[in-house]
């Protein structure tokens, strides 16, 4: 295991759990420690004796303690211990309680891959929904036309509920993709001096989507998939694996960030393939107040894995189908773009294929971080061109780079770049909260 303490800390559900884990990193607290290629394990002396185990390829954990935090402090302590004092965790055959767990996990994984809905129930459900979505979009179209007839100036005095009511109607119409766009639009009025322009752009793109959905039969099959996904038709994991591309590569996990509303949080994890140079975006969801439970590639690591892309004219959203090796920290240069111009060229190509994309993984090589006197932050390439960073402070990244060229990873939304990581001096450092 080669994970650094920083990477292990990103596994923790919160900072308190990470700190509690740190306290258990001394071998004094443990007995019967052991490891093999697949797992780490040990018995931790707490208020009782707890059996703690960690599966290595995906850092999934299990512990006999009653904690509802996941992973618990014992599992984190075991990981810290293995990272800092590897000699204390000797190679050994797993005891029964570890072997049984590993076998059960392997069985579950096989079961998941074979389980699927029967095709007939699926099609019955979907034809009923198809009608609902159509009705919903028709009524939204009328509402939009009404809005444009009266003019956006009338929107200025409308409360947020003006938009949220429409969003709720789209949820009822089972078009959650449209609903999410409306919720995002609700935040635009008064958010910046040029909000009318941004509002018009967003409404226009929404209208384009509705238009495309209506005329989907005229589109090629992959663009149809894009339009349907953007509207809110979801695919099960099995469907993704069955219908999308599965790409095997060594995936660099550049970093992740979380956005959310009052009910649901979404975590965006950006991956970049070393061989293919492809960008993959993994989404996880969790109700507010609950941690994300999915095992995910750890920010700052690279790992051989099979990644399945959702079918698309420009495949971007993906899930990790299976990991093929244990993760190791990123040390070498990123498989990124040599200049900002080259990167934006690729963004233009992606937008041309799939106009509903609104975020793009980004890795720029040999760029410098610049803070201008007005307090704005930029990333500047060797040709002298720059992109603005998301408003915020990036002192950590500036400290690491010292104003010299580094590899910088982030997420581009068409207007600003959100930094996620910096690679310099043979090490990769995440920027921003990675939890």
């Amino acid at each position: 295991m080669q994970l650094s303490a920083e990477q292990i800390a990103t596994l923790a559900p919160d900072a308190r759990a990470a700190a509690a884990g740190r306290k258990l990193e001394s071998p004094d607290h443990w007995q019967k420690l052991g490891r093999n290629d697949a797992a780490l394990w040990g018995e931790c002396r707490g208020s009782a004796l707890y059996h703690t185990r960690v599966s290595l390829p995906d850092t999934a954990t299990k512990c006999s303690c009653p904690s509802h935090k996941f992973p618990c402090k014992h599992a984190l302590g075991l990981l810290f211990l293995a990272a800092h004092t590897p000699a204390a965790v000797p190679e050994s055959p797993p005891p029964d309680w570890v072997a049984e767990w590993l076998t059960k996990r392997a069985e579950d994984a096989t079961k998941r891959q074979t389980r699927a809905d029967t095709p007939t129930t699926r099609s019955k459900r979907s034809s009923k929904r198809e009608a609902l979505v159509q009705q919903g979009l028709d009524s939204l179209d009328l509402w939009l036309a009404d809005l444009m007839r009266n003019g956006l100036a009338t929107v200025e005095t409308q409360p947020v509920t003006f938009w949220e009511r429409q969003a709720a109607r789209m949820v009822d119409a089972q078009a959650p993709g449209i609903a999410a766009r409306l919720k995002a639009i609700a935040t635009i009025p008064h958010s910046s001096p040029d909000w009318p322009r941004r509002l018009l752009n967003a409404l226009g793109r929404l209208a384009l989507l509705i238009e495309a959905y209506r005329n989907q039969s005229a589109l090629d099959p992959l663009s149809q998939e894009d339009v349907r996904q953007a509207t809110g038709w979801t695919l099960t994991q099995e469907e993704v694996i069955e219908r999308g591309q599965v790409v095997q590569d060594e995936w660099y996990c550049l970093g992740r960030h979380v956005t959310g509303d009052e009910r649901l949080r979404t975590r965006f994890t950006h991956l970049l393939g070393r061989k293919t140079g492809r960008s993959a975006l993994v989404l996880h969801f969790s109700p507010v107040g609950r941690p994300f439970t999915e095992e995910t590639p750890l920010p700052g690591t690279r790992q051989c894995a099979e990644v399945a892309f959702w079918p698309s004219a420009y495949p971007q959203r993906a899930l990790v189908r299976s990991t093929l090796a244990t993760p190791s920290p990123i040390t070498d240069t990123l498989p990124g773009a040599a200049s900002i111009g080259a990167y934006l060229g690729e963004v233009a190509r992606a937008t041309g294929c799939q106009p509903w994309l609104d975020r793009f993984g980004c890795a720029l090589l040999g760029v410098t971080l610049v803070r201008t006197d007005d307090g704005l932050w930029w990333v500047r390439d060797h040709e002298g061109y720059g992109l603005p960073l998301t408003s915020g402070e990036y002192w950590d990244a500036l400290a690491l780079s010292g104003g010299s060229p580094v590899d910088l990873a982030g997420e581009w939304d068409g207007e600003v770049l959100r930094p996620l990581g910096v690679r310099t001096d043979g090490a990769y450092y995440n920027v921003g909260e990675q939890r």
């Binding site: 650094s4 303490a5 920083e6 900072a15 700190a19 740190r22 306290k23 001394s26 004094d28 800092h84 179209d141 939009l144 036309a145 444009m148 007839r149 009266n150 003019g151 956006l152 100036a153 009338t154 040029d194 009318p196 322009r197 018009l200 752009n201 967003a202 409404l203 226009g204 793109r205 929404l206 209208a207 384009l208 238009e211 900002i340 934006l344 963004v347 233009a348 937008t351 041309g352 106009p355 410098t368 610049v370 803070r371 201008t372 930029w378 500047r380 390439d381 002298g384 061109y385 720059g386 992109l387 603005p388 002192w395 950590d396 400290a399 010292g402 104003g403 010299s404 068409g414 450092y429």
Partner: protein, 561 residues
């Protein structure tokens, strides 16, 4: 992509409303217009939205980066940095706000000629507190100094690297002549540090025009670089009407052993105290003192305070009004004796410190006052004999006190002495206290409703451990751990024990034990397994103690040359 405004007819139309617009043809102003011409959209509202949407996508795809000026990169580093494990440790200490451990780690880093790793710099630069910043400065490296220059909140780095001492004299002079009060005093202090006579000249010139508050502040600034040359200015200040200014001037003059004021104080002390060697008419008293301490031929210390406060005493800074709980004459005497360095007394009175202290203790009327005055006159450079004699005497008074009110003044004196004791004296005292604690019986203090059993540690010990410089010596650390273990074994059998001082010393010891004691501190501590609240608290306290020791052990292992 920020083209908005007058010539954006899509946005203008959208704002006013498609219904109110005269039918000027909608255009995106891009090559998209060809598509819309080929397949026109019937309704105006829909056309407007679709054109705006298409144009937004078009512009997103065609976004162009802006030319950005380059910035000066950080100069290359000269020092090496610490191990990744140490870096991780520093991160941990920062996130847990363990400032004192951080201080220790930074000092070790400096001693090993290393610099901080880059990634912790922003958090380190944001730290507050002069002690931390002092040790931070030499380990910031080129990168840290470069980084600090980018953020106004980290200006302190530049201030410390090139402090105002290097600012030219003219700048200070301008500040002195035209500045606000704080600016003037800052300039005065700066100049005093380099050219004390110039600062003195400024004060002399300004004296007549200033109010009492300012006068006092100006005298305070002269405390640095004080010399005999300042005497006439200070002597003059004794005629000020403000008692604060007088006290301040008197304090400075007392620090000049050859000043007229110091001589006057000594003369007054000589008049107030008289030692009379073995004196036949006082045989009765001799018997008494012989019974109290060592026998033999003893003289008498006579104390003769003035009946009324002389004018010239007031002028020399002695306050007339006593604080509560002490008589006026005692108060004057105590102040007077505090002002006379102890080294003058044996010659002036004709006997040695131990005899003097012994005699003072035997003086029922004024002895306590004299001893307290002498204790305040103690300075770190006073002779061992004085320390030993005064300590012994206060100690006895403290231990013999029956009621807690009686031991109050003695404890105050002991505490004052503890802070003055040079390390070479403090440590043996503490070791002896710790050893004694192992044998001490449990003390019962019975109150009206409940019985409290305090632990066996004296407050001298608890306070002294607190005052001892960190890290402790190995022998003090070993004695401490040994006594603590003995205490924990003995305390098991004591019913309804109170937490007391021992538990309070654990956090202090955790940060002060030297590396040589780490292994002994980490060997398991056996506490009784009971649900008793006190022992549960002990369990937590010991756990925290060991956590801290483990961290410090790691610091010592990971950060070294």
């Amino acid at each position: 992509m920020m083209r908005t405004g007058a010539n954006d007819n899509l946005l203008d139309t959208a704002l006013t409303g498609a219904s109110r617009t005269t039918l000027s043809p909608l255009r995106t102003g891009t090559s998209l217009d060809e598509i819309f011409e080929k397949s026109p959209v019937a309704e105006q509202e829909r056309a407007l939205l679709l054109m705006a949407g298409a144009r937004a996508v078009y512009r997103q795809a065609g976004v162009r980066p802006r030319a950005i000026l380059t910035a000066q990169p950080a100069p290359p580093e000269t020092a090496a940095t610490c191990s990744p494990r140490a870096r991780d440790l520093l991160d941990h200490l920062l996130s847990q706000n363990r400032d004192s451990l951080l201080l220790e780690a930074l000092k070790r880093l400096h001693a090993a000629d290393m610099r901080l790793p880059f990634n912790v710099l922003p958090h380190m630069l944001a730290l507050r507190g002069a002690a931390l910043r002092d040790v931070l400065l030499p380990v910031l490296g080129q990168r840290g100094i470069w980084l600090a220059a980018h953020n106004p909140e980290w200006q302190w780095v530049r201030d410390r690297i090139s402090p105002d001492i290097h600012a030219s004299f003219e700048v200070h002079q301008a500040a002195w002549e035209d500045g606000t009060s704080p600016q003037r005093l800052a300039a005065l202090r700066q100049v005093r540090a380099r050219t004390p006579e110039q600062a003195r000249a400024w004060v002399i010139a300004a004296w007549g025009a200033e109010k009492a508050d300012v006068r006092r502040e100006m005298l305070g600034a002269l405390s640095d670089g004080l010399s005999q040359e300042d005497e006439s200015l200070l002597e003059n200040a004794l005629d000020c009407r403000s008692s604060n200014v007088r006290a301040c001037a008197a304090n400075l003059l007392m620090r000049l052993p050859d000043s007229a004021l110091s001589l006057r104080m000594r003369e007054r002390a000589n008049a107030v105290l008289r030692y009379e060697p073995k004196n036949e008419p006082l045989r009765g008293l001799r018997k008494l003192t012989g019974a109290l301490g060592r026998g033999g031929n003893r003289g008498v210390l006579r104390v003769m305070p003035p009946e009324t406060l002389p004018k010239d005493w007031t002028r020399d800074g002695i306050a007339a009004k006593p604080p509560q709980g002490i008589g006026a004459r005692a108060w004057w005497t105590q102040q007077l004796l505090s002002a006379v360095p102890l080294r003058h007394l044996p010659d002036a009175l004709g006997t040695d410190p131990s005899e003097l202290v012994h005699m003072a203790a035997g003086n029922a009327d004024w002895g306590a006052v004299v001893l307290e005055g002498w204790t305040h006159a103690l300075s770190p450079d006073a002779s061992d004999a004085w320390f030993a004699a005064l300590w012994e005497s206060c100690r006895r008074r403290h231990d013999e006190a029956k009621v807690s009110e009686d031991c109050g003044p003695a404890w105050r004196m002991l505490e004052a002495m503890l802070t003055l004791l040079p390390a070479a004296h403090l440590e043996p005292v503490l070791r002896a206290e710790l050893v004694a604690a192992q044998r001490k019986p449990v003390v019962h203090r019975t109150g009206a409703t409940s019985e409290i059993r305090t632990d066996f540690m004296s407050r001298i010990c608890a306070r002294g451990l607190d005052l001892t410089a960190k890290p402790w010596s190995a022998s003090l650390g070993e004695t401490y751990l040994q006594s603590l273990r003995t205490y924990l074994v003995r305390a098991r059998d004591v019913p309804s024990l109170s937490p007391g001082s021992w538990m309070g010393t654990l956090p202090v010891a955790a940060e002060a034990l030297p590396p040589a004691c780490f292994d002994q501190a980490l060997t398991p501590w056996t506490l009784p397994e009971t649900d008793d609240w006190l022992w549960r608290r002990w369990g937590t306290a010991v756990e925290q103690f060991q956590d801290t020791i483990r961290l410090r052990k790691l610091i010592a292992e990971e950060i070294r040359a």
